[in-house]
């Protein structure tokens, strides 16, 4: 036999599907050290806000509608009726808030970034303490006391999905080391000392997601979903994002069209790095607004 190197193959995933009821996982087959958790006590809430008017016929952002969607999402995340109170609950005057957006291919909409900045300023965070933290240089994120993870929703040809968990890849200093087989380790970046515990809000730009071939844009796989997805559990938010992309792909092809390679980072972020839940049954989706083709 002589097989020393352990690698994750297609067969491991099929075994995982069969063994799911027994609590095994593809990730555990990689001999990662799973954190001890009690799944029965876990529950995460993910807010999904959509508005048909968020984009016009030419896919230009309606900033007034977007602001309302943002207020709605953040209020729900914080459990407050008023958006201003919600922002104040999540972020304090003394915070230095880093906005971590998608700045390469398939970018986070600039209008969303501006809306978040305005909301933070209105909540009392000084303008000069709001920084754009999507940088390879970790010095900037080290100065932040709070982060808002605000990627655009997209599939990724090397990691399956390239949204929430992959959004901090630059903080590793070695982004290429987290592609392909090592994409399962994306969650470890969230546990780096200068990152861990700082993410107060995950806010996914799902206005025009990309469901295949990301990050390079192929417009036939973008569609006007007109949504924002928010929560404090990055894994739960990513799991909802994954579901939306998966369902959309199946609809496009008219048959199952699984992401290839499979997005192993999501389950690993749960089982190995303890960042949140990837178990669908443990996620409560609070859906608000436009429900047509909501997909989840």
């Amino acid at each position: 036999m002589g097989h020393e190197k352990q690698t994750l193959t297609r067969r491991d995933f099929f075994r995982n599907a069969a063994a799911a009821a027994a609590g095994a996982s593809a990730i555990s087959l990689m001999q990662c050290t799973a954190l001890s958790q009690n799944p029965e006590k876990r529950s995460s809430r993910v807010i999904l806000v959509r508005d048909e008017a968020a984009l016009d016929a030419e896919n230009q952002v309606n900033v007034v509608t977007l602001k309302k969607m943002l207020d709605n999402a953040v209020s729900a995340v914080a459990g407050e009726k008023k958006a201003a109170k919600a922002w104040k609950k999540l972020f304090k005057f003394e915070d230095t808030v880093g906005l971590v957006h998608s700045n390469a291919l398939n970018k986070t909409h600039a209008e969303l970034i501006e809306a978040v900045k305005s909301a933070l300023v209105e909540a009392g965070v000084p303008q000069e303490k709001i920084v754009m933290a999507q940088q390879r240089d970790p010095d900037i994120v080290k100065t932040c006391t709070a982060l808002i993870c605000m990627p655009a929703l997209k599939a990724h040809w090397l990691t399956g999905i390239g949204t929430v968990l992959k959004n901090y890849i630059m903080y590793s200093g070695k982004p290429r080391d987290y592609h392909a087989e090592d994409s399962a380790k994306l969650g470890e970046i969230w546990n780096l000392p200068f990152v861990q515990g700082k993410t107060r809000l995950c806010l996914v730009d799902a206005l025009q997601p990309l469901c295949d071939k990301g990050p390079q844009v192929d417009p036939q796989y973008k569609w006007p979903y007109k949504g924002l997805i928010a929560g404090t559990d990055p894994v739960a938010v990513e799991t909802v994002c994954l579901k939306i992309i998966t369902v959309k792909r199946d609809l496009i092809k008219g048959e199952p069209w699984p992401l290839s390679p499979p997005p192993v980072c999501v389950e690993a972020a749960d089982k190995t790095y303890g960042l949140g839940t990837s178990v669908w049954e443990e996620i409560v989706i609070d859906k608000r607004g436009w429900m047509q083709d909501v997909l989840v």
Partner: protein, 332 residues
């Protein structure tokens, strides 16, 4: 019917457009003449040249796809028009037509819009939603504007014509002939899921086998793959996936398949099980149907999701026999 007529008219218009392109600007780095303008769009003076070292600065996270083939460089051009989205032109210079074909083969969806393609040939140009993708000789080209408008579509088509005009037809990789056109059980390759590749990362985009490079693929290898669908006379059968790899050397083929069997079939002793026949064949029941592989000289044949052991044995034998026939006709 009206829709069909409309599509035909659009195709015809695209073909006519491409036949009448005024070629006025010689681009700096190649012999393709780009039009100075396309509708309201004007070719910008700003050009970008990307090589294998700088590709990740240009497209972090997507560069591996191009480096997975034999990549020589990328030239980026932009067309601009007041009040309209830019048109981005990416010209990927690959080392062979096979590599350019491989990039296009990663997704056959879209509307074929090239003129001169014979019926049954692989399309050279595909258009969808604002993106035109072209395989022309050793060039792979992406011309994109988004959102799409009728005006921008016309401009994209005009620019695309520069990459097709006077360049003759492109031959698909010869190795595609290694894919049997039909199996006796009634399976035929799905043209929309047929591809050419050299890298395990690209293979995983077609069909996930393993995150690691367990087949030891590299740019010296060439491989073709296809999903085989049951033919109408065998509608109850399930589809399966076939991969054929041509390694540069016989010993590379043997070691590549050995590495694969050790990782993919860890429950068996690959050495003894593979040595039972002259073609080193193996068939195993997996969690998703039957899978098997065979090595013949420099060529490895691998199959996944066969419906039964018996079907797998027949398919593997026919696939290997097909390689023999190819070798007899064309040399090893």
């Amino acid at each position: 019917m009206r829709k069909l007529k409309f599509r035909f008219k659009r195709k015809l218009r695209a073909c006519l457009l491409w036949a009448a392109i005024p070629m006025t600007v010689l681009s700096r780095n190649a012999d393709i003449r780009l039009p100075e303008s396309a509708g309201a769009w004007i070719l910008s003076e700003t050009r970008k040249r990307v090589n294998e070292k700088t590709i990740f600065e240009y497209m972090d996270g997507a560069g591996e796809m191009y480096l997975g083939f034999r990549f020589d460089g990328l030239d980026v051009f932009t067309y601009q028009a007041p009040g309209r989205e830019d048109i981005l032109v990416e010209r990927y210079r690959m080392r062979s037509p096979d590599d350019a074909f491989g990039l296009l083969s990663m997704d056959w969806s879209g509307e074929p819009v090239s003129s001169g393609d014979a019926p049954g040939e692989y399309p050279r140009c595909l258009y969808a939603a604002g993106l035109l993708r072209i395989w022309s000789g050793s060039l792979y080209v992406r011309i994109m504007t988004f959102p799409e408008t009728p005006e921008s579509r016309e401009a994209v088509m005009k620019i695309g014509g520069a990459f097709i005009a006077d360049r003759g037809t492109s031959r698909p990789p010869f190795l595609l002939n290694a894919l049997p056109p039909v199996f006796s059980g009634g399976w035929e390759p799905d043209r929309d899921k047929t591809g050419f590749l050299r890298s395990h990362l690209v293979l995983n985009s077609f069909y996930f086998v393993s995150f690691s490079n367990i087949l030891n693929l590299d740019p010296q290898c060439e491989a073709v793959c296809a999903r085989y669908r049951p033919s109408p006379r065998n509608p109850e059968a399930k589809s399966f996936f076939l991969l054929i790899i041509r390694y540069p050397e016989v010993k590379r083929a043997a070691s590549g398949v050995r590495s694969f069997t050790e990782s993919f079939y860890p429950e068996i002793d690959s050495e003894s099980d593979m040595n039972g026949s002259s073609e080193n064949r193996m068939i195993i029941q997996t969690e998703s149907g039957w899978s098997g592989c065979a090595v013949r000289g420099r060529t490895a044949v691998l199959g996944f999701e066969w419906p039964s052991e018996a079907a797998g044995r027949v398919i593997l034998k026919e696939a290997v026999d097909h390689q023999k026939t190819m070798e007899e006709n064309n040399g090893p």
